[in-house]
Symmetry: C2
Subunit: 123 residues, 2 copies
């Protein structure tokens, strides 16, 4: 198989990082399935996540490895990593230890766009 | 309020594009809530999505506006756009007209990482 068909149809884990060495990671709640946050992973964050079972990302603003919850304690325990067709995006199905958002919200997605303004999501 | 606190806590829609003019867009199925795909939007894709109610993205590989389903017909009708805390990621809650993945799969996330290999997701 070509690299592309192996990547799309095969069993080989061949994560595809972009020109900055990153891929997309979407965190969903393992039980409610709500989308909790979206971030980026580099190879270091991916390895740390797989080794520890706790979600790690690459902080683009700080330019370094970011263990989610390292200061707040609100870690994300990873149950499953789903991989998309071209292996440049993952869904991490997680159990959060507390609110995922740094604002204290359960999810970072606490607003919905209505016309030209943001409104709180009904929960 | 500062720009940051208005962006995080306010009602103003202030999408935050990165240094390539992109932000992350996660598509979830409006009814099943499965994550269907992850892509990027630039301001052109965001405007086209809001104007038409059909999901548009920015294709990084082709470097241009990408109406999802423009060749396959498998468009995504957008019901809601959720916006995250720092407004650099959206969740699009959509009704798909057909399989979302170009492989014919319902979702691009049809494999799960188990140990070092990918296995089909049970559906």
């Amino acid at each position: 198989m070509s690299d592309r068909s192996e990547r799309e149809a095969g069993r080989s884990f061949m994560p595809k990082f972009d020109d900055k060495g990153l891929l997309s990671a979407v965190v969903v709640h393992h039980e409610t399935r709500d989308v909790l946050m979206v971030a980026f992973m580099d190879v270091e964050a991916l390895n740390a996540t797989r080794e520890t079972g706790v979600a790690h990302f690459h902080s683009r603003s700080r330019g370094k490895l970011w263990k989610k919850g390292e200061s707040s304690g609100n870690i994300l325990k990873v149950h499953e990593i789903l991989v998309d067709c071209d292996q440049d995006a993952f869904v991490l199905s997680c159990t959060p230890a507390g609110p995922t958002c740094h604002t204290g919200a359960r999810s970072c997605f606490y607003r919905v766009l209505q016309d030209d303004a943001l409104e709180p999501v009904k929960t």
